[in-house]
Amino acid sequence: MTQWVRKDLLGLEELSGEEIRLVLDTAYSFKEVLDRPIKKVPSLRGKTVAMLFFEPSMRTRTSFELAAKRLSADTMTITSQGSSLSKGEVLKDMARNIEAMKVDILVMRHQAAGSCHFLARSLKSSVINAGDGSHEHPTQGLLDLLTIEEKKKRISGLKVSLIGDILHSRVARSNIWGLLKLGAQVTVCGPKPLLPMGIERMKVRVTCDVQEAIQGADVLNVLRIQLERQKGSFFPSLREYAQMFCITPERLGKAKKDLLILHPGPMNRGVEIAPEVADGPYSVILDQVTNGVAVRMAVLFLVSQVNMKEDRDEISD
């Protein structure tokens, strides 16, 4: 039986398939808690979880907050507006101050790739990556895996296509690592300038043809076109993007009948995904949201066990 030994959860790249399996199995048991009339367990009672969000987020932040509360932790949220970061305080100083208030777990979203790794190195508190730039979004990757497995009863051998802005997508990276480690076959698809260099070395199939990505796929994970990151010259217009890549009912004509469609949200309806598809029979987008809470409970629980063990070791020293 695999043991969880990590103080932090920074990405799926560094996790083994067994560790991912352990998080998913833990998430299943917490999911059962969410269906109870009293949706709360005492696992993190007396623990404090701080949410540091330097980028706007609704889904991830509330999902983490709810997960922490379901585990009976105390929570607090700090967003970049109204925090001392706007006064030029450096990230490290701010995080150390929060740690000095005896916060056990920091959940952070930050625009810089690797910022969670940076904090994890300098803090004793656990750090959970809630999205670092274009690098990783591990809990999103895990909740996508959970959703796929729940519906398909397996991951291994499935064909999963990620469609959209792969270059800037942390969801894509976490999905690729997680899916590959559990034995799925992954295709990435998008306009050529949004397919990052060397991506094929991650052992994924690469295509610019959305039909090719749809055909034979068991799962489509449709990524959000991040309007805020498109100030460059990656593609001509949203109109042309939609014409070429939008997942429409017509494009799904030849898709497998039991296709699953995921989207990490927030959606740009009519750009990367047609409203009829987002709300249609293939869509498991709201299941993803439900599973997000369970996965985040699992992650908070697992890292807190390691942190508590370290506390005990220190006392016995």
Binding site: E13, V90, L91, K92, H110, Q111, A112, A113, G114, S115, H117, F118, D132, G133, S134, H135, E136, R170, R173, P196, M197, G198, I199, R201, M202, G232
Partner: protein, 431 residues
């Protein structure tokens, strides 16, 4: 003061000398070379097992004074230089204020004289404020003592301005040292673009960002004449272009830095900003191309691009940290370990890359041990094993990716103008 350096291996590529012999220093000059010289009242320096080489020249450093004295000063940078075996350094112009006027040059020279450890030859900026808009007063800079021109840290993106800079510089014979970077291809980049930047989600700087500007300036040089020295060359394609241009006999030269032949972009995987520099650490293929070019002479010289940064600025998330690493105290050790002990370069070729070639590029009467030349001499213990330690830096900064590395070979003594300024790590008093 007279010194007799006895029994060392004198390596002097200019004079094609590589033999065990004695060298007499008198009145600050190389006075005599020959076997079994008699001391005649000279202080004897036992150099058995050591290399005796023309003083090393680092033609690309940042001494940060004036402006960022918290990171480095002319004093601390001079100490770092002589500790690393360097007898001459060229501080780049990106200080605050920029070295774009006579007063700035005079300040550097007077401070260098006051410190009195190492020869300091200032580099003047090509454009006022390094803004890439108007040429600096280049005649005045030359007269004040600049021996090269550079907007290092920034590219000169305006091709017409670069054309005129080259044409104007021909009147003074000064090389323009270029920092080749296409600002649009660079935009937002923090590391080499490739598989590693893809997995790390960091914005990539493609190698074409450098080579496209190298290509442009080769074309321009053909058209205008003048002299270009390409700073910190990192990519295999730039090297190919330079190799071709040299075959055509163009007046150009280039340097690389120790990190471009000893590290690849894989080092960035921990997000440690001590691996963040510009140009970025590139692929294994680029590293191999740099090594080959050092061996065949396409790359003329090794310069450290010593770039001190405050610890609190480097100890940050990768995107937020400044570019650059220090190198004066590790350059020789890394070069000996990775180029000479690995069998790639002969000792004489390394000394060419670190002394003779920079002197020739800059038109300095240095880089050789000819009779009558300034006694700028470095004694190197090529077999000395040592570990680069943070607490032993003379530099005010410690932003080095090489901390903790075991190196083989280091400077044992540094002599500048016939004066011992560093002996076994101890630096003579200045001021």
């Amino acid at each position: 003061m007279k010194f007799l350096i006895k029994g060392g291996r004198v390596i002097d590529p200019k004079n094609k000398r590589d033999e065990q012999t004695d060298l007499l220093v008198e009145k600050g000059k190389v006075a005599e070379i020959g076997k079994h010289l008699s001391a005649n009242g000279a202080e004897i320096i036992q150099a058995g097992g050591l290399w005796v080489v023309p003083g090393l020249i680092d033609m690309h450093v940042h001494l940060r004074q004036p402006g960022r004295e918290d990171e480095e000063t002319i004093l601390s940078g001079s100490r770092a230089a002589v500790k690393g075996g360097f007898t001459s350094v060229l501080p780049m112009a990106n200080t605050d204020p920029v070295t774009d006027h006579r007063g700035a040059v005079e300040f550097i020279l007077s401070e260098a004289k006051r410190v009195g450890l190492v020869n300091i030859f200032p580099v003047g900026s090509v454009t006022k404020g390094q803004k890439g808009e108007i040429l600096s007063d280049i005649a005045e800079l030359t007269k004040a003592g600049c021996i090269a021109l550079s907007d290092d840290g920034r590219p000169i993106y305006n091709t017409k301005l670069m054309r005129h800079a080259l044409e104007y510089s021909t009147m003074f014979g000064l090389p323009i040292i270029t920092h080749e970077e296409d600002p649009h291809l660079f935009e937002g980049g923090v590391m080499h673009e490739g598989y590693m930047s893809t997995t790390l989600g960091l914005h990539g700087i493609p190698s074409v960002c450098e080579s496209i500007m190298v290509g442009r300036d080769i074309e321009l040089l053909k058209f205008t004449g003048g002299k270009i020295h390409f700073a910190h060359i990192s990519s295999s394609r730039s090297i190919e272009l330079i190799r071709e241009a040299k075959k055509q006999g163009l007046n150009l030269s280039c340097e690389t830095a120790p990190h471009y032949f000893s590290l690849t972009d894989e080092s960035v995987s921990t997000f440690d900003a001590n691996f963040k520099m510009n140009p970025p650490l590139r692929s294994n293929e680029d590293v191999e191309a740099v090594k080959k070019a050092l061996s065949d002479g396409t790359i003329d010289c090794i310069a450290s691009d010593h770039a001190p940064h405050a610890e609190n600025e480097k100890d940050a998330e990768f995107d937020g940290a400044p570019f650059g690493i220090i190198g004066l105290e590790s350059s020789l050790g890394i070069s000996l370990t990775h180029l000479v002990h690995s069998g790639l370069l002969s000792p004489a070729t390394l000394i060419t890359r670190m002394s003779l070639a920079p002197a020739a590029i800059l038109g300095l009467q240095k880089g050789a041990l000819s009779i009558g030349m300034d006694a700028d001499i470095t004694l190197i213990d090529p077999e000395k094993k040592w570990i680069l330690r943070r607490e032993e830096f003379e530099s005010k900064s410690s932003n080095s990716p090489f901390i903790g590395w075991e190196l083989k070979g280091r400077a044992k003594m540094t002599m500048v103008g016939g004066r011992v300024v560093m002996n076994d790590g101890k630096i003579s008093k200045s001021e």
